[in-house]
């Protein structure tokens, strides 16, 4: 277990995912929730690239990871625009205040 292999990278990805999940679940700040989403996507990316290197070969996994990066950037842009809009409406970015549509 001392020398770095596939399991090390998978373990890193799993821990990144778990910490991102904790961030999404416990934050009340909408920007904090978006940070957690970024952590989760990074954990998935580490797994993609690790499997690409140690199992399949080629570059398919890296191409998939690039698509994930592109969509994460798009998600961040739209998500932060929504956060700014919520802030202008409610004067707060506490996600528990923005429940107008729940009723």
């Amino acid at each position: 277990m001392l020398h770095v292999g596939l399991q090390h990278f998978l373990l890193l990805g799993a821990l990144l995912f778990s910490l991102g999940l904790v961030t999404v679940a416990t934050r009340r700040n909408a920007v904090g929730v978006l940070m957690g989403v970024e952590l989760i996507l990074n954990g998935a990316n580490v797994n993609f690239v690790a499997f690409n290197h140690y199992v399949t070969g080629g570059v398919s996994g890296q191409v998939f990871a690039l698509f994930v990066i592109v969509l994460a950037a798009a998600e961040a842009a739209v998500g932060l625009a929504i956060v700014l809009s919520i802030f202008q409406t409610f004067r707060s970015i506490d996600v528990r205040l923005a429940d107008t549509m729940r009723e």
Binding site: L2, H3, V4, G5, L6, Q7, H8, F9, L11, L12, G13, A14, L15, L16, F17, S18, L19, G20, V22, A25, T26, R27, R28, V31, G32, G36, E38, L39, N42, N45, V46, V49, N52, H53, Y54, V55, G57, V59, S60, Q62, V63, L66, I69, V70, L71, A72, A73, A74, A76, A77, V78, L80, A81, I82, V83, L84, S85, S92, I93, D94
Partner: protein, 214 residues
């Protein structure tokens, strides 16, 4: 006082990362032997553990810091560490893309949103989490399961290829096998650009004076 020390520790870790990645590239360019034995470890192992520690420390700071600005700095560490990890997996183009898109784009955007939406005086108040005990409980519930799956499954591994530049292979793959998703991704980016502008702009009524003119 302790916060100041914490910030400096994070900054020092970032500098170490940069120097480490640069040193790795230089070492490979000079075609030094890749595995220098240092006791039971090789140099590659030690660098991996260093960057993994940086990544996890940053992710932990993002998850558990009370201050949203420190969370953003922790996210910077986590993203930088993950980018360095990609270099170990022969994904040099991906590492650079991570640096450009995540750290240069997404992280700056997040910091921008933090500064716009937080009145600086209540920074600590506005990042109250639902509870550190709940977060720790969730971590204890999910992480061991995922770690067990990662460690116990007999993955069909093969001997990895030697590290080589991937930019040419990725370009070929994008323009042959993955052409349709590639074009769709550019459409998605265009839609995102327009959508973000429309969502974030202020609505101006025709009979109201422009507030920026006041």
């Amino acid at each position: 006082m302790s916060r100041k020390i914490y910030t400096w520790v994070v900054l020092a870790a970032l500098v170490v990362t940069f120097v480490g990645v640069l040193g790795l590239e230089v070492a490979r360019g000079a075609s030094l032997p890749g595995d220098v034995a240092l006791g039971p470890f090789t140099l590659r192992d030690l660098l991996f553990y260093l960057f993994a520690a940086l990544t996890l420390a940053g992710a932990g700071a993002t998850a558990f810091s009370k201050n949203i600005v420190y969370s953003a700095i922790g996210l910077l560490g986590a993203l930088t560490g993950a980018g360095a990890i990609y270099v170990f997996l022969s994904a040099d183009f991906l590492a650079v893309a991570q640096l450009l898109v995540y750290i240069g784009g997404v992280l700056v955007l997040i910091l921008f949103a933090v500064m716009l939406t937080n009145r600086i005086t209540e920074v600590t108040v506005s990042n109250v989490s639902l509870g550190v005990p709940g977060g720790v409980a969730l971590l204890v519930a999910t992480a061991p399961v995922l770690a067990f799956v990662a460690l116990a499954t007999p993955w069909p591994t093969r001997t990895p290829d030697p590290l080589a530049p991937t930019t040419r292979a990725i370009g070929n793959a994008f323009l042959t096998q993955w052409l349709l998703p590639f074009e769709l991704a550019s459409l998605v980016l265009l839609a995102t650009l327009i959508g973000a502008v429309i969502i974030a702009r202020k609505e101006l009524k025709a009979d109201e004076p422009d507030p920026s003119l006041r």
